[in-house]
């Protein structure tokens, strides 16, 4: 069995990545999960001993997890388990909610992103986010993408135009909108709007893209396009996707993490999580026995 796992890791280019590179101070010992023992590749993001509070309510308990570069990690778990809360920490969106408190350490390429020395705007350029509901600006398709560049001080029209085209192509939307760039983005379908939001995130050249249930409001065809896009984007970006859709997690991700009531219960290769999870609570969740 182990040989098969190692072969799979090689095929997936995961042979040099291992979550045990994270050593949390207490709590989940990720190394004890017994993944194939392969080391070497630096994780893109490391969460170490992260606790998070909304007021006095603790929403995350000692989260220790790392994310491999240019791989897709799915975060699954029931509503209220802390999965969206967790990914919002990764680009400091939590700071927009008053009364919150974060403990622990989150590193992006070794940089402590929680430190006051790290500028949140710079961080959000590196770590983009796509939300559950498509949220295009009430502007033209072109302006939606150009906006992020202009806010970041890009003034060269040629650069802006080239980036808009490039981002739309990367988001697999160019063919559908190339003749209507001056139309309102609000006239696009839900699936197109979501891909526009992905293009908008790509325009500022992020390294990590966080997807928070990106297909929750989309039909199966649009969902399929977004999933296909995620699989293409992972060649260049580190992707973390929160989803309630088990099949989606299984289809698009290399690794899956299961959260429950603020705890990280289990993290591992997606095929292992869905074929043979180690923790009974994971099994109960993915087979729908929770209740």
């Amino acid at each position: 069995m182990h040989d098969t796992l190692v072969d799979y890791d090689k095929q997936m280019g995961l042979e040099n990545f291992h979550p045990s590179l994270v050593k949390g101070p207490v709590g989940v010992n990720i190394n004890s999960l017994g993944e194939a023992d392969v080391f070497g590749l630096e994780p893109k993001i490391i969460s170490r001993g992260v606790n998070f509070y909304y007021g006095s309510k603790r929403a995350l308990n000692n989260i220790n997890i790392s994310f491999a570069p240019r791989r897709v990690t799915a975060i699954i778990g029931p509503s209220g388990c802390g999965k969206s809360t967790f990914i919002r920490l990764l680009n400091r969106m939590h700071e927009l909610v008053p009364g919150t408190r974060l403990e622990g350490e989150i590193l992006l390429d070794g940089l402590d992103i929680i430190s006051p020395a790290c500028d949140a705007a710079d961080l959000r350029k590196r770590v983009g986010m796509v939300f559950q509901k498509p949220n295009p600006f009430p502007k033209t398709i072109f302006e939606n993408i150009a906006y992020g560049l202009e806010v970041n001080g890009v003034t060269d029209r040629q650069v802006i135009e080239a980036t808009v085209v490039d981002s739309l192509k990367k988001a697999a939307l160019w063919g559908e909108v190339k003749d209507r760039l001056k139309d309102s983005a609000l006239g696009l379908s839900g699936g197109q709007q979501q891909r526009l939001c992905i293009a908008r995130a790509l325009a500022v050249s992020p390294e990590v893209i966080l997807f928070d249930e990106p297909c929750a409001s989309l039909d199966p065809i649009s969902t399929g396009k977004i999933e296909e896009l995620i699989l293409q984007l992972k060649k260049d970006y580190t992707i973390i996707i929160v989803t309630h859709n088990m099949q989606q997690a299984a289809r698009v991700s290399d690794r899956t993490a299961f959260f429950l009531m603020g705890d990280l219960i289990e993290e591992g290769r997606t095929d292992n999580i869905f074929k043979a999870p180690r923790d009974r609570r994971t099994e109960d969740y993915i087979t729908g026995r929770f209740g």
């Binding site: 098969t4 993915i286 729908g288 026995r289």
Partner: protein, 221 residues
Amino acid sequence: MHRHFDDELRQLKGELVRMADMAQSAITQAVEALKNRDKAAAQRVIDSDVGMDSLELVIDDKCLDLIALHQPMAGDLRFITTAIKLNAELERIGDLAVDVAQRAIEIADKPMLKPLVDIPRLADAAKRMTGQAIEAFVNSDTALAKKVILSDSEADELKRRVEKELVYDYMIKDGSTADRAVPLLLTARHLERICDHAVSMAEDIVYMVSAVVVRHHPEEL
């Protein structure tokens, strides 16, 4: 939390147990027909195989429905994929019982070559191993499944003994015995193949219960 899906899985399990009962019954009746030189009983085994064939299709269809409609995960997924495999193994066991019944018909009217000693033992091993594999499936009992896997060498040894005796003590010494020795030789082979299918079932059951692959990995036993 009650799941309607669990009721469907229980129903599938029941169908597989029915398939297993039919397979075990076919082995028993085929070997009895061989021992008692009872052509009518052998023919009944052959005729009843159509029932197993039909049930095989029903179970396959049920498994495909469960996958298509419920997209099972984890233990549920392992259960259904194992059910598909066990179903195929049991159908093959039924076919091998038919093969034994055909051999019984071939030798029924001929003088007995020798008293049957090891073939009934091999038949007992085939029935026992098949029964234990199904019991392991019903009770998710990996210890019993592993016992079945480890019994394979016993069946291999019995088959070797039958072959050696028939070839060296009969066929080589007296070529005219071949028409009675060959059906017995084939019977031993059929029964040993039944044991192999029981072992395959047991390997699948270990995976279903514990997610450990022991097939082709004896070190995992």
